[in-house]
């Protein structure tokens, strides 16, 4: 049970910088009426950001070199996508995704 001072500073600094983007919109948007185009724009954010997070996991960017595609992740995404479309269940998709990934890694060694 140790707490190094440097780690404590990292945790406190991390807390501050992760809190700001989370609470700032909640504090500001209460005060103003957002115009219709902005609300419409916000309506597109969910689809875009979910896509971005999925694509992010398929890309590998080494510190020196060019972007490469993580084929293992792409291979696992395909059945995961199919089960999500077929059953429309969050939990089932996650379970099938984990199992698929484990199988792919086992097969590819």
């Amino acid at each position: 049970m140790s707490l190094q001072p440097s780690i404590l500073w990292i945790i406190l600094g991390g807390m501050l910088v992760t809190s700001i983007p989370r609470i700032l919109p909640f504090m500001i948007i209460r005060k103003l009426n957002l115009p219709e185009p902005v609300l419409k724009w916000l309506g597109y954010v969910p689809i875009c950001i979910l896509t971005a997070l999925i694509v992010e996991s398929t890309l590998k960017v080494p510190s020196h070199g060019i972007t490469s595609i993580n084929l293992t992740v792409i291979l696992a995404i395909i059945p995961t996508c199919m089960i999500a479309i077929w059953r429309k269940s969050l939990l089932l998709t996650v379970i099938v995704g984990i199992i698929t990934m484990a199988i792919i890694r086992f097969l590819l060694g």
């Binding site: 945790i11 991390g14 501050l16 997070l53 960017v61 429309k88 998709t93 984990i98």
Partner: protein, 239 residues
């Protein structure tokens, strides 16, 4: 039809509905949190530090990056700046949810914002896409369940981490991506079918843009820039 609409409006989701709606995402939190704890142990963090990191920073990707940077003795300032960039996308998530809670007090708004995650955002926008009402109590139930599960699973990973050296081989690290896939499909499913083509086009733009941007900026910044650009394209091309 009219009656069904009214009924839907009356049924305001409660705190316990929020807990229930969190359950499908728990496997994601538990497996990633567990992996997080293991990685933290290998970066020589103590159980106390793992617990504080989970409870105070409460951000999956950032916690992994913090551990990686601590392990290679990066300067504190660099670690905090990286954490900031990785989590900057929460501005967009928060801004999407916040307009629905304009009537709640400032204090409650801060509470809801502090516990916002990619997953709780995903569950909330899915509920909105299905035209179901959301309430403060519901979001708090969802958020607190996720928060408690996350902290506990990080601690468990830290405790059991000595025995499981490589969480990757079990495919657990993929649970997050699988969850995002499911949330995206659920979003598209609850969409007005006439808009589906428009959204699929935007998804294709996102994929191209993410790949292209990855050559110039970090992936975390690419997420933000691509989302801002493609959402704008979405508004402009909407008929």
């Amino acid at each position: 039809m009219q009656q069904a609409e009214t009924l839907k409006q009356i049924a305001q989701p409660s705190f316990s509905d929020g807990i229930k709606d969190c359950i499908p995402t728990l496997l994601g939190y538990l497996s990633i949190g567990f992996a997080m704890g293991i990685v933290a142990v290998t970066s020589h963090l103590s159980i106390l530090e793992i617990g504080l990191l989970a409870a105070l920073v409460y951000a999956g990707a950032s916690q992994f990056i913090i551990c990686a940077m601590v392990a290679v003795h990066s300067p504190i300032s660099a670690i905090i700046l990286t954490t900031f960039i990785v989590n900057l996308r929460h501005l967009l998530l928060s801004a999407t949810i916040a307009p629905h809670f304009k009537n709640s007090s400032l204090f409650k708004n801060i509470g809801m914002g502090l516990l916002l995650t990619d997953e709780s955002f995903g569950v909330t926008v899915n509920k909105l896409a299905k035209r179901e009402p959301i309430t403060e109590q519901w979001l708090n139930g969802l958020n607190l369940t996720a928060y408690i599960s996350w902290v506990i699973s990080c601690l468990c990973g830290g405790v059991f981490g000595q025995w499981v050296k490589n969480p990757e081989i079990f495919g657990l690290d993929f649970s997050l991506t699988a969850m995002f896939v499911a949330l995206l499909i659920l979003q598209l499913h609850s969409m007005n079918p006439s808009k589906l083509n428009h959204y699929i086009l935007l998804i294709i733009y996102m994929i191209i843009m993410m790949y292209g941007l990855s050559f110039f900026v970090s992936l975390d910044l690419a997420v933000i820039i691509a989302t801002v650009i493609v959402s704008t394209i979405g508004v402009i091309t909407d008929r």
